[in-house]
Symmetry: C2
Subunit: 136 residues, 2 copies
DNA sequence: CCCTCTACATGTAAATCACACATGTTCGGA
DNA sequence: TCCGAACATGTGTGATTTACATGTAGAGGG
C-alpha cells in the first residue's frame, strides 16, 4: 500500500517519543555542487548523478530534479549542452560550464563562506551557553 | 502598482546581464535560531523578532512566518507558551523551551557541525581548482 | 476621539523538493 | 534469441517552506 511512509521535504522528523532527526542543508546546494563538478570537466546527467553524492552528502540524488535543474541552468545561460552519439551506450547530453557559470560558481563560493561564518557564530554561542541537552 | 517586483523564495536572482546575486542559507535556519534564543531566556514573539536578525544574518524577519513556526513548535512539544498581562503594553504570549526542545537544539547543533564539514570540503575543492571567475 | 506603536495572526503565490512513473538504448548471460 | 540489468533522459504531482501582503486588537499619547 503506497502513500503511508515518510513524504515531503521535512528538515525535522520524529524518530521516537521526544526524539527528532534533524538535517541541516544549505538551500539549493545541488546547484553549486553541479557547477563545481562541471567546472572540473564537462559531463552528462547520469555521470553527474554518480559524482554528486560525495559533494552533497546525500545518499541518492533525484534524477528527475537533476535534469530539471540542468535545463533551468541552460535556460539561464549558466551551462550549454550538446548531444554526443560517438561514445558507446545511449546518446548523452553533455553539459559544459559557461563563463557566466564560472562567475556564478564564484558567487556561490563567496556566499557559502559567508554562511560558514554565520553558522560558526551560532555554534560558538550555543557552546558558550552551557547546561545543554538533558538526558532522554 | 503592486505585483511588479521580485517575489518568492529564490536563492539566486539576476541583478544585471550575466550577474547573479546568490544567497547561501541553511534550510529552516530560523528554527535553531529561535531555539537558541529561547534556550538563553523565555521570550515573546515580538521580542524574538528583534533578536533574530543578529543570529540569522537577515535584515528583517517575517512576522507571519515567525508566529507560524512558534505555533508549530508548540504543537510538537518543543516549546510551551503562556499569556502575560502583567507587563505594560499589549498582552504577550511568552514562549519557553521544553526539555525536548533542548534536545532538539542539540540535534540542530550536531547537524550544523556536520554541514559545516561538508561545505568546508566543497570550498577546499573549489579553491584547489585554480582558474576561476573570469572577468565580467 | 484619533492616531501610532506594539503584538499576534491569517492568506496566498512562488520556489524547492521528494517520490513515483514513463521511455528508449545497450549489453551480457541463460 | 529473449530477458533483465544498467545506462540515460525525462514528466507528473503533492508537500513543504518562504516572501510578502493584509487583518485584528489593545495601549498610550495628544
Amino acid at each position: 500500500m503506497r502513500g503511508h511512509r515518510f513524504r515531503g521535504a521535512r528538515a525535522r522528523r520524529r524518530v521516537g517519543p521526544g526524539e527528532w532527526a534533524v538535517r541541516a542543508r544549505v538551500e539549493r546546494f545541488g546547484e553549486p555542487a553541479l557547477l563545481l563538478l562541471l567546472s572540473e570537466r564537462p559531463a552528462h546527467g547520469y555521470d553527474l548523478l554518480e559524482q554528486l553524492p560525495e559533494l552533497t552528502g546525500e545518499r541518492r540524488i533525484d534524477m528527475g530534479n537533476l535534469y530539471r535543474v540542468l535545463r533551468a541552468l541552460e535556460e539561464d545561460g549558466i551551462v550549454t549542452s550538446a548531444w554526443r552519439d560517438d561514445a558507446p551506450g545511449p546518446s548523452k547530453r553533455i553539459y559544459e560550464l559557461t563563463d557566466e557559470g564560472r562567475r556564478l560558481l564564484g558567487g556561490w563560493a563567496d556566499a557559502l563562506r559567508a554562511n560558514q561564518g554565520l553558522v560558526s557564530s551560532f555554534l560558538d554561542r550555543y557552546e558558550k551557553g552551557g547546561d545543554h541537552v538533558p538526558r532522554t
